[in-house]
């Protein structure tokens, strides 16, 4: 599904990412962990063609992301505030994103209804604009928008940040359910080791831009991760 080949990225001569080869197969929940500055967001941005690589390519479904637009119709993403339009209400934002993803108005209504549990009654019908909502609610809206339009790949950068405990649990269930029901390939980064071991089949540790470990999740993964990051 996703193939990374000889990918490097440097800023002002400092290399921040160098990945020789990485394949992610369809339906995997791929977890990315690493300390600040390890290159997690850089990898995601390169995957979504938001920054230019110094060398190498990322392919989604056998097409190079920087050369075509095809992959955009099967990819949903939420990295940061830059994926939200802050002067819209949540309803308007979902309607816009849904339309762009080719959903009909009924599809969009249905989708919002499905998400109601995840929103916990704090998002829809509040007559607020996104910019006046709390970080947690903005985060919920961004994650939900990434799931619109039956994507095959969903990229989420630290999705558990600023979510309340109940919503964190709901998000974990949501991801597991979507992975089973729709065979969505998830790319998720997180600083929370227990969350990521719980939902992901495969975990990659990035260190200074390079893949330090590539683990298939098993019973002792969490302990291994904790040991790796122990100071």
């Amino acid at each position: 599904m996703i193939q990374v080949k000889n990918l490097t990225k440097s800023y002002n001569g400092t290399e921040v990412l160098n990945i020789n080869s990485l394949q992610i197969s369809k339906g995997t929940c791929f977890g990315l962990v690493g300390n600040n500055g390890a290159g997690k967001t850089t990898l995601f941005r390169l995957t979504l063609d938001l920054i230019r690589s110094n060398s190498g390519t990322v392919e989604i479904d056998n097409s190079i992301v920087s050369e075509t637009d095809n992959w955009k119709h099967i990819t949903g993403s939420f990295l940061d505030q830059g994926f939200l339009i802050d002067f819209l209400s949540p309803e308007e934002f979902f309607e816009f994103t849904g339309k762009v993803k080719g959903m009909s108005r009924d599809d969009i209504q249905l989708f919002i209804k499905e998400m109601e549990d995840f929103f916990n009654g704090e998002v829809i019908g509040k007559k607020k604009l996104l910019r006046t909502m709390s970080m947690g609610n903005q985060q919920k809206i961004g994650i939900a928008a990434a799931l619109m339009g039956n994507p095959e790949i969903v990229v989420l950068d630290e999705p558990f940040n600023s979510l309340d405990p109940s919503t964190q649990i709901r998000l974990k269930n949501l991801i597991k359910q979507k992975q089973v029901d729709q065979k969505i390939t998830f790319l998720i980064s997180s600083h929370d080791l227990s969350h990521i071991t719980e939902i992901c089949d495969r975990i990659v540790i990035l260190h200074e831009g390079k893949i330090a470990h590539d683990i298939l999740t098993g019973e002792d993964t969490l302990t291994a991760l904790e040991q790796y990051f122990a100071v």
């Binding site: 063609d49 637009d69 830059g82 339009i85 802050d86 002067f87 339309k99 762009v100 993803k101 006046t132």
Partner: protein, 494 residues
């Protein structure tokens, strides 16, 4: 100690803002322009003050100047009312620290007195105090007079701040204040009394009875205290920002647009963007002013009805709204540019949406200028030619220049004197906008056939319209090539 660190933080904030570094050349240029202006104003006031008794050869030169001061203050009142802001938000990071609230307030209010307008007043009054007042009344009185005038100006400063703060909370007080001021203005207009005479008499009285020169000082203290009291009761986070405001949430919903697919959606988003953000909204408020531009020139027989000035006015009236809309394309979307890049909207649709919306803007502006034919049919011709030129040439050019944007606009601030996110390319673009039409029109006029010039201008526009696809491709190419540069620039927002 505390004030010191506040000041040093302010300085760092100014110097370290990414915008400052990015547009250093621009800032130096602006600084240069302002310095020259400043020096000119200073020299002018110096010489006017020195030779005032020759300029007004009457018996009472001082009294004549006092009348000028009366008008100066009333003009200042209006200008300040429109432009002045109190920098309250800047104290937010300090509010949770163990800093006395009093000190924060003094800092806010103190900073509120350091502004451009107060500087103008100092330049305006100082030379006169030294050259004229000192000559008639002696140095001591001159000094007292100067302090007194600056105090009046400061009181005005704080009064405006107070009114503007109250406008958010308490409209009755503002209404009462404005009606009182309006009543005085009406009285002067109806010749019930003379505002300038009364004011001048008052100043003369103060000069003759120097003890009263302290009166304005008292006024400053009172207005300062009013602000202090008001702020000390209202210095909570929710009062500082528009945090709790719930209005405006449904403005800009145009259901009709939903029938036009992605392009309709994109135009819908732009309409909401315009109506729900302060910076774009204040631009819209100004638009009637732009459309009234013709009233100044078309109705004035001093100007040549076939002169280049008229073309300038025509292009400006039919085009300025569109130019403001297109020039900052991409930069308006700067805060959600990553979304646009990943969501699968292609730039082609984006550009087409901009073209359509801009064409509608130009057409509406044009239709609103049609009544100018009442002042002469030639104005209808001028506006039509300028409208076509805007439609065919200026729209694609503006959008092409917009692909060079790489600074996101901060839409939460007003637009008057706001240079955030504005770069050299925006100024550069104004050249073809203003000079382009003249280059086409003037040669025909000089050869004695102004109508042919207008026809040529209109035809150029139609030609541009026919080749719109070519322009669109060039814009698309540039936008695609520059998307990473734009995205990196937009992500750096303060």
């Amino acid at each position: 100690m505390l004030i010191q660190s506040f000041i040093s933080h302010q300085w760092k904030q100014a110097v370290r803002s990414p915008i400052w570094h990015k547009s250093l050349a621009m800032n130096i240029f602006m600084f240069f322009i302002f310095s020259i202006l400043f020096a000119e104003v200073m020299l002018a006031s110096f010489f006017v003050a020195k030779g005032w008794h020759e300029i007004v050869p009457g018996t009472e030169p001082l009294f004549a100047f006092y009348k000028v001061i009366a008008y100066y203050f009333s003009a200042m009142f209006v200008i300040r009312f429109l432009m002045q802001q109190l920098p309250v938000l800047e104290v937010r990071p300090y509010m949770h620290l163990s800093v006395k609230k009093r000190n924060l307030l003094h800092f806010i209010l103190g900073k509120g007195s350091l502004n451009f307008f107060n500087l103008i007043s100092i330049i305006f009054f100082t030379p006169f105090a030294f050259f004229q007042i000192a000559y008639y009344h002696g140095n001591l009185i001159a000094l007292a007079w100067l302090i007194s005038m600056i105090s009046i100006d400061l009181s005005l400063n704080y009064l405006i701040i107070y009114i503007k703060k109250q406008m958010v909370n308490n409209l009755t007080i503002v209404t009462i204040m404005i009606s009182i001021i309006g009543l005085f203005a009406l009285g002067d207009y109806m010749h019930w009394y003379s505002y300038s005479e009364t004011f001048a008499n008052f100043i003369e009285f103060m000069v003759k009875t120097p003890a009263f020169l302290g009166l304005p000082l008292l006024l400053t203290v009172v207005t300062y205290w009013m602000n202090f009291k008001f702020l000390s009761m209202n210095l909570y986070l929710e009062d500082l920002s528009s945090y709790t405001k719930k209005t405006d949430n449904h403005i800009g919903n145009v259901a009709y647009l939903k029938n036009f697919g992605i392009i309709g959606e994109l135009i819908g988003i732009d309409i909401k963007l315009y109506l729900r953000n302060k910076r774009t909204k204040s631009m819209l408020y100004l638009s009637p002013l732009f459309l009234a531009y013709g009233l100044m020139f078309y109705t004035n027989d001093q100007y040549d009805h076939e002169g280049g000035m008229m073309i300038f006015v025509g292009v400006f009236m039919t085009g300025i709204l569109m130019v403001n809309y297109l020039q900052y394309a991409f930069a308006y979307e700067g805060t959600y540019f990553d979304l646009l890049l990943t969501s699968g909207i292609n730039f082609k649709d984006f550009i087409r949406a901009k073209f359509i919306a801009a064409s509608i803007l130009v057409s509406v502006s044009y239709m609103l200028t049609i009544p100018y034919f009442l002042y002469g049919t030639e104005f209808l011709l001028i506006n039509t030619a300028c409208f076509l030129f805007n439609l065919g040439i200026v729209i694609p050019t503006a959008l092409y220049f917009a692909t060079f944007n790489k600074k996101a606009l901060n839409l939460k601030q007003g637009s008057a004197f706001n240079y955030q996110g504005i770069g050299a390319s925006h100024w550069l673009f104004l050249l073809p906008f203003f000079i382009g039409p003249l280059i086409i029109y003037l040669p025909f006029k000089w050869f004695g056939n102004a109508e042919l010039g207008l026809i040529a201008l209109g035809l150029t526009g139609i030609l541009g319209l026919t080749f719109r696809q070519v322009f669109a491709r060039a814009i698309l190419k540039n936008a695609t090539e520059r998307k990473y540069i734009m995205a990196v620039g937009f992500r750096e927002r303060g």
